[in-house]
C-alpha cells in the first residue's frame, strides 16, 4: 500500500523538528495507512453511514429472500386479490398476546362489485416464527422449508399479507423481497461489467495515449451522444422474444453496461493522466521500478478509492435503468420478479387508485437509490485526500 511506502520518509522529515511534540492522536494519524484514514473520514459522514447500513440490509434481504418471505412470490390466491396491507397488532382489547393480525372480512359492494376487505376483530391469527412453508434451497446449499415468520400450520387457508396482495392475490411482501434479488444484483453485475470494460479502456487510453487514446475517446464520445433511454429502449425491444428469463437478464445487464462503461473509462483515464505526472511516480521510475510495479503499487492506490466511489455512484443509475425498462415492458418480463416488473402492475391510475400499496416497490427503489447516492458521496469525500 502507498501509505506504508510513504510513512518512513515522512517520519524522517518530521523527527528532527519535533520528536516528542506529537500528541497521541496526531501520531495515530501519521502512522495510519491510507485505508485507515479513509475509514475514519468516512465514519464522520453520518448520512453515508446510514446509507451503507441500509444497503447492507437490502443485500442481506436479497440473499435470504426465500427465508425472509413467508410465501412463494408466484403463488396466487384467487379469493384474496387486492388485499390491503394488514397491520400487525400486539394487544387485543388491552391484552397482550404478541404479534398477530386480525382475520379478513371480504365484502362485495352490491352496486360497483368492488371487493373490499376489513379486519375481522373477532378472529386472531398469531404470527409464528420459523414456520414451515414452501420448500426452497437455502443459499443453494441445502433444502429446507423454514420461513422466518408466517401463520402457524394449524391455521390452514389463512394468510398474512404485510404489504397486501396484487391483482392475482400474490403476496407483495414476498414479491418485493424476491424482486430485490433481481434488481439489486443487476445493478452490481452491470457495474462489474462496466468496471471491467471501463478500467481496461480507460487504463489503455490514459497509459498509452496517442492514436489509441484518440480512437477510444471518439468511441466514448459517440456512445454518449446517443440519448440513453431511447437507445436502451430500442435495443431491449429488439431482443428476441423467445429468449429465456436468464438470457434476458444477462442481455439487460450487457445493455446497461454498454453505456455505463464510458463514464468509468473517462474517470480512470483522467486519474491515470493526473497521477502519471506526480513526483512520486517519477521517483519510483528513477529508482528503477518496473512499469507493472509502478502501476500496481504506486498509481493504483492513488485512484482506486476514487474509482470505488464512482462505481458506487453509478449503481443507482443501473438500478433505475432496469426499473424504467421493465416498467415500460421492455426489460425483464414476468415470471421474473424485479422492482420494475412489480411497478408495471401499477402503471395506470385506475389500479393505483384501487390498490395504492402496489406503489410500495417504488419506495424500495427510491430507498436503494438514495442510500447508494449517500454512500457514494461519503466514499468520494473520504477518498479525496485533499478534502478539508
Amino acid at each position: 500500500m502507498a501509505g506504508q511506502d510513504a510513512t518512513p520518509a515522512k517520519a524522517k522529515v518530521t523527527e528532527p523538528q519535533a520528536p516528542e511534540a506529537l500528541a497521541p492522536t496526531e501520531e495515530r494519524i501519521f502512522v495510519a495507512s491510507q485505508w485507515q484514514l479513509m475509514w475514519w473520514r468516512f465514519r464522520k459522514h453520518k448520512l453515508a453511514n446510514v446509507g451503507g447500513v441500509v444497503i447492507l440490509l437490502f443485500y442481506i434481504g436479497a440473499i435470504f429472500c426465500e427465508f425472509l418471505s413467508p410465501y412463494d412470490p408466484n403463488a396466487y390466491e384467487k379469493t384474496l386479490t387486492f388485499v390491503p396491507p394488514q397491520r400487525v397488532h400486539l394487544f387485543h382489547e388491552g391484552q397482550f398476546i404478541g404479534p398477530f393480525v386480525y382475520g379478513l372480512k371480504r365484502t362485495r359492494d352490491p352496486v360497483t362489485y368492488v371487493i373490499t376487505y376489513e379486519p375481522d376483530r373477532s378472529k386472531i391469527h398469531k404470527l409464528h416464527f420459523f414456520v414451515p412453508g414452501h420448500r426452497y434451497r437455502m443459499l443453494g446449499l441445502f433444502e429446507t422449508d423454514v420461513h422466518l415468520f408466517g401463520l402457524g400450520p394449524e391455521e390452514k387457508g389463512h394468510k398474512v399479507y404485510l404489504l397486501g396482495t396484487d391483482r392475482l392475490g400474490r403476496d407483495m411482501f414476498s414479491r418485493i423481497l424476491y424482486g430485490s434479488r433481481i434488481s439489486l444484483s443487476i445493478g452490481l453485475l452491470g457495474v462489474f461489467v462496466s468496471f471491467a470494460i471501463g478500467i481496461l479502456a480507460g487504463g489503455v487510453s490514459g497509459y498509452f495515449g496517442g492514436t489509441i487514446d484518440t480512437i477510444i475517446q471518439r468511441v466514448i464520445e459517440f456512445l454518449r451522444s446517443i440519448p440513453t433511454i431511447p437507445l436502451w429502449m430500442a435495443l431491449s425491444a429488439s431482443l428476441p422474444r423467445e429468449w429465456t428469463t436468464v438470457q434476458r437478464y444477462f442481455a439487460i445487464v450487457v445493455l446497461l453496461s454498454l453505456i455505463g462503461w464510458t463514464g468509468l473509462a473517462r474517470v480512470v483515464r483522467g486519474r491515470f493522466l493526473a497521477v502519471r505526472e506526480e513526483d512520486y511516480v517519477m521517483a519510483a521510475r528513477l529508482q528503477g521500478a518496473s512499469e507493472l510495479r509502478i502501476i500496481l503499487r504506486h498509481m493504483l492506490p492513488a485512484f482506486l478509492s476514487y474509482i470505488i466511489a464512482s462505481l458506487t455512484l453509478s449503481i443507482p443509475g443501473m438500478i433505475l435503468g432496469e426499473t424504467s425498462l421493465s416498467f415500460l415492458g421492455l426489460g425483464l418480463r414476468p415470471p421474473t420478479v424485479s422492482w420494475g416488473v412489480l411497478l408495471q402492475e401499477a402503471q395506470n391510475l385506475q389500479t393505483v387508485a384501487l390498490a395504492p400499496w402496489l406503489l410500495v416497490p417504488g419506495v424500495a427503489v427510491v430507498t436503494a437509490i438514495l442510500s447508494f447516492n449517500f454512500l457514494g458521496d461519503g466514499l468520494r469525500d473520504a477518498a479525496d485526500p485533499y478534502a478539508r
Binding site: E221, A234, V352, P356, L359, L370
Partner: protein, 332 residues
C-alpha cells in the same frame, strides 16, 4: 474562434455517420424483414397484396439487395427528409413525428423554463448562505429529487390528486377533444393541464441543477477576484450576480445540449405515465410492436439533435466564458 467552430463541426461528422449506422442497425435488428411481416399482417386481416405493389415496395426499400445498398438507400431518403413508412400507422414517419412535435416541444420548453426559474435563484441562495438551515433543506430536497425517478413522482402525484380531489391529471385534454382540430376551447384545456407535466419533468431536473449550481458557485466564491471586488467596496448583490454567477451559469448553458432532443421526445417515460399526446409514447408503441422504421428514425433524430445540441452548447460556452475561449479548449 471561427477556426474552433469549424473544427467542432468537422468533428461532428464521423459521429453522425456512426449514428446513422447504429440507427439503421436498429431498423434491421428484428428477425425477418419488415416487408414480409407487413405482408403477413395484411394477409391476416384478409387483405390481398397486389404483386406490383409488392414489387414497388421491394424496390423502395431495396430488399433482396445487399445490406450496404439498403443502408445507402435509407441514408439517401433520410437526407431528403424521407424516413420511411410506419407499417403500424401506414403513414410516413416524418408526418407522424411532426404531428406531435408542437405539443412535445411546448412541454420541453416549459419544463426547461421551470428548471431555470426555480434552480437558479435557489442555487444562488444555497451557495451564498452555505450551511444555513434553508441551505440544508434545499440540499435535502435536492437529494430526494435526484433519488425519485420522475415516472414514480408522476404516478404518486396522479394518485394523490385523484384520491384527494377526484381529478384525473393524465392526458393533456379531456377525452372528447381526442382527434379534434385545434379550437380555442381545446387550447384552453391544454393550458389548464400543461403545468402538470411541466412541474413533474421540471422537478427532477431542478434537483440536479440546484446541486451543480451550488457547487459551482461555491467554487467561484472562493476565488481571489471575489475578495478583490469586495475589498474595492462593490455592493454584495451586484458583485455576486455580475461575476461568480456568470461563470457558474455554465451548466445552464450545457442544458441547451439536452434540451434539443427533449424538444422531440419529451421526457419519454413520464409522458407515458401521464399519457400525454407527445412523441414519447409514440416511440414506445413503435418499439413494442417492432415498427422499426418509426423506432429507428426516433433514435436517429434524437441522436442527431443531441450532437447538434452539444455543438451549440459548446460554442455558446466559448462565447460566454472567455477563459475557455483563450485557454486550451481541448484540455477541458
Amino acid at each position: 474562434m471561427l477556426g474552433f467552430v469549424f473544427r467542432r463541426i468537422l468533428y461532428a461528422f464521423p459521429t453522425l455517420v456512426m449514428i446513422s449506422l447504429v440507427s439503421f442497425a436498429i431498423i434491421e435488428l428484428p428477425p425477418g424483414d419488415y416487408l414480409s411481416s407487413y405482408v403477413a399482417q395484411l394477409q391476416a386481416r384478409g387483405e390481398r397484396v397486389a404483386e406490383d405493389e409488392l414489387a414497388a415496395l421491394k424496390a423502395r426499400y431495396g430488399l433482396g439487395q445487399p445490406i450496404y445498398m439498403r443502408y445507402l438507400k435509407w441514408v439517401r431518403g433520410v437526407l431528403r427528409g424521407d424516413f420511411g413508412v410506419s407499417f403500424e400507422w401506414n403513414r410516413p414517419v416524418s408526418e407522424l413525428i411532426f404531428d406531435r412535435f408542437w405539443l412535445t416541444a411546448a412541454i420541453a420548453l416549459l419544463s426547461t423554463a421551470f428548471i431555470w426559474a426555480v434552480a437558479l435563484p435557489i442555487g444562488i441562495y444555497s451557495a451564498t448562505h452555505q450551511y444555513s438551515i434553508s441551505d440544508y433543506i434545499f440540499t435535502f430536497i435536492g437529494f430526494i429529487g435526484v433519488g425519485i425517478p420522475d415516472f414514480l413522482l408522476a404516478l404518486v402525484l396522479l394518485w394523490f390528486v385523484w384520491s384527494n380531489f377526484g381529478v384525473n391529471l393524465g392526458g393533456l385534454y379531456p377525452p372528447q377533444y381526442e382527434g379534434q382540430p385545434w379550437t380555442w376551447a381545446k387550447v384552453m384545456e391544454v393550458m389548464k393541464r400543461i403545468w402538470v407535466p411541466m412541474a413533474i419533468i421540471g422537478t427532477s431536473g431542478t434537483a440536479g441543477m440546484i446541486r451543480t449550481m451550488r457547487a459551482n458557485l461555491l467554487d467561484e466564491l472562493r476565488q481571489p477576484y471575489v475578495i478583490t471586488a469586495r475589498a474595492k467596496g462593490l455592493r454584495e448583490t451586484k458583485l455576486i450576480l455580475k461575476y461568480p454567477v456568470r461563470i457558474a451559469l455554465n451548466p445552464f448553458i450545457s442544458t441547451v445540449g439536452w434540451m434539443l432532443p427533449g424538444l422531440l421526445s419529451g421526457a419519454t417515460i413520464v409522458s407515458i405515465v401521464l399519457s400525454l399526446p407527445t412523441n414519447g409514447p409514440l416511440m414506445l408503441k413503435a418499439l413494442l410492436s417492432q415498427d422499426m422504421y418509426l423506432a429507428g428514425s426516433f433514435v436517429f433524430l434524437l441522436s442527431v439533435l443531441t450532437v447538434i445540441g452539444t455543438l451549440i452548447s459548446d460554442i455558446l460556452l466559448v462565447v460566454v466564458d472567455p477563459r475557455i475561449r483563450f485557454g486550451s479548449v481541448e484540455g477541458r
